[in-house]
């Protein structure tokens, strides 16, 4: 790691005179966290898509999202694999080191799931008579029954792990819990556990469940320590997952580099989507430099073949990972606004006019269109109603209308009612 940090291509962003003769050497330092949803970035390097655009991507593996955020902010990285809410949080000034961050490219959809300990799941089955084919909502409601029991008996409430305060996992876990009638701030204890440690933490009983990205849910279920009770698709199929983050000033001073990068990532994303490439992709991802997990598990994850538990219960999720199809790479600002709505729902942010502007400005479809053209633009515009078409519903049936976020948040029965939450009268 220390060797890599000595190459400082990012200084070019600071020296104005170089812009006249070009944008400096096309070496981009890119931070990533070892997860399957870094596939597009990794494939761009390993299968020649970056080289074809005259770019050298220097991938640097990191250990925490806080590091990725800080290293991007302090110019150690030019671009970074980030959680979709991170640019939104940064633009809203949330977190311990908010620094302007935008995304011109989404790395795809899917990949998350919620896993509970076998012990907790058994108890849900007994308490609520869950069938083997229970869906995500049935599971959440069954957990609510158990949580009520625990409260009545004065037992300790479940401790549940997620990845980061501004993560898809935090909002999806909360969404799922709340849809079942569980208050994530009062009825359970949410903690942060680094993804590679989740399976061990579950096995050791330090946590009773978690929501993280692939391959860690499957790692726990194959080990026989957990049961997968919901996938990201069950909660909201088009929920954004990871994105490519960059500093807006860097994007502005490197327009040509940004465009080449997006062309390379677009080609890599199309390649990653093709099932015939999944074996080659799985081999590379399994490598110690990247995810360092068993290649079989990664192959299953890419194919959406889920082991729900170690007893052989399986489920195949169509398009568990979507790297490109259905405009999966388009950074639609209404998605950023949905993330903002969840931040308001859970008391992380307040609803204000400035907040709306800031949140939407984190997602930059203009940069995407400049690089890839209008052909890659989804219908319905940049700000559209979400979750109102068949096949793309929220698990509780709510519809997100970005033109009235206050009303949208207020309609949730379970939400934070303290502190910075929605007051309804601010916009």
């Amino acid at each position: 790691m220390s060797m890599m940090t000595k190459i400082d291509s990012s200084r070019d962003a600071l020296s104005a005179p170089r812009r006249i003769i070009g944008e400096g050497p096309k070496i981009l330092r890119a931070g990533f966290i070892p997860l399957v949803d870094a596939s597009v970035l990794i494939a761009a390097v390993e299968f020649g898509f970056a080289t074809k655009e005259g770019l050298t991507l220097d991938l640097v593996r990191d250990v925490s999202w806080a590091n990725v955020r800080d290293r991007l902010a302090f110019r150690q990285f030019d671009i970074a694999h980030m959680l979709s809410p991170m640019p939104v949080a940064s633009m809203l000034g949330l977190g311990s080191n908010p620094s302007p961050t935008i995304t011109p490219f989404s790395l795809g959809r899917g990949g998350n799931a919620i896993t509970l300990s076998l012990r907790l799941f058994e108890r849900m089955r007994e308490a609520a008579g869950l069938s083997e084919t229970a869906n995500a909502l049935d599971n959440a409601e069954a957990l609510a029954v158990v949580v009520r029991q625990m409260k009545e008996r004065g037992e300790p409430l479940p401790t549940l792990g997620m990845t980061y305060p501004f993560s898809s996992h935090n909002y999806e876990f909360r969404y799922w819990l709340a849809a079942g009638g569980i208050d994530p701030d009062k009825d359970v204890k949410l903690v942060v556990v680094p993804p590679p440690l989740t399976s061990d933490a579950l096995a050791a009983g330090a946590i009773d469940g978690f929501c993280v990205g692939a391959p860690w849910n499957m790692v726990a279920s194959e080990r026989g320590v957990g049961r997968i009770v919901a996938a990201k698709q069950d909660i909201w199929p088009s929920a954004p997952e990871k994105v490519i983050g960059m500093r807006p000033d860097w994007a502005e001073s490197h327009p040509e580099t940004v465009s080449r990068l997006l062309v390379a990532l677009d080609a890599a994303a199309r390649w990653c989507d093709r099932p015939e490439n999944h074996d080659a992709l799985a081999e590379v991802l399994a490598d110690a430099r990247y995810i360092a997990a068993p290649v079989d598990i990664i192959r299953h994850v890419l194919g959406g073949q889920f082991s729900l538990d170690a007893r052989g219960n399986r489920r195949v999720i169509d398009r568990y990972f979507t790297f490109h199809e259905g405009f999966a790479n388009y950074p639609r600002p209404s998605q950023a606004l949905w993330i903002y709505s969840q931040m308001i729902r859970w008391g992380q942010a307040r609803l204000t006019e400035e907040g709306l502007q800031a949140a939407a400005s984190a997602y930059r479809p203009d940069l995407y269109r400049t690089a890839l053209g209008k052909a890659d633009m989804p219908e319905g515009g940049d700000i559209r109603v979400e979750g109102n078409v068949e096949g793309d519903r929220f698990m509780d049936g709510h519809v997100f209308d970005p033109s009235d976020i206050g009303d949208y948040v207020d309609r949730f029965a379970v939400r934070s009612r303290s502190g910075a939450g929605s007051n309804g009268d601010e916009v």
Binding site: M1, S2, S64, A66, S96, N97, P165, V191, V192, P194
Partner: protein, 195 residues
């Protein structure tokens, strides 16, 4: 009037490095220093200790857990910010490069915190240097061992004296433009295959 002593928490899984930092802080006159090596139960420690400054190694994956903690404590009016002076990019880069990250209670005067971070950065760097030197010493020792074994093999197989065996290794290394240790390793490997 001297400012009240700052409460400092050092979180480092590397016990040796942590003690180097702790020593530096005490030398600088800080007496309220707590060092922990694992993050289990860190939430409780932070709650009771109420540190003004937290120094944590950047390779610690539990930084994300701390972020969550601060997000929760934000509501009980204990905001914690990263780094002292956002405009001081040189010292920020030095810190990130050294592998130090820090959380500082908002509103603390930067003159009070900067020396602490500077000290942490220089001690982190000193520790990396120490580790590098140790690794180099180890590999030098390994090289010497391999050369000794290769010499022994050549002496036995070719009936050479010790000086002649070493001269042969050195001559081959010069001819091949390689290090003596590399030639010696080849000799050892080849001997392993042939014998």
């Amino acid at each position: 009037m001297p400012a009240p002593d700052l409460t400092i928490l050092v979180i480092d899984e590397n016990a040796i490095r942590a003690s180097i930092i702790e020593e530096g802080l005490r030398e600088a006159g800080h007496s309220k220093v707590t060092v922990i090596h694992e993050v289990n139960g860190v939430a409780k420690i932070i709650e009771t200790l109420k540190p003004d400054v937290i120094v944590i190694d950047i390779e610690n994956p539990n930084r994300d857990m701390m972020e969550h903690l601060f997000q929760l404590t934000r509501t009980v009016s204990r905001p914690i910010a990263m780094f002292v002076d956002r405009s001081d990019t040189a010292s920020i880069e030095a810190a990130v490069e050294a592998g130090v990250s820090a959380y500082v209670v908002d509103g603390l005067k930067k003159e009070r915190v900067k020396p602490i971070l500077d000290m942490a950065v220089s001690r982190f760097n000193a520790f990396s240097r120490l580790q590098r030197e140790l690794a180099e010493a180890k590999s030098a020792l390994e090289e010497r061992k391999v050369i000794e074994r290769a010499k022994g093999i050549l002496m036995k197989m070719k009936g050479l004296s010790e000086e002649e065996a070493f001269a042969l290794l050195r001559q081959s290394a010069m001819n091949e433009k390689k290090k003596i240790a590399e030639i010696a390793q080849s000799v050892v490997t080849a001997a392993g295959l042939l014998m």
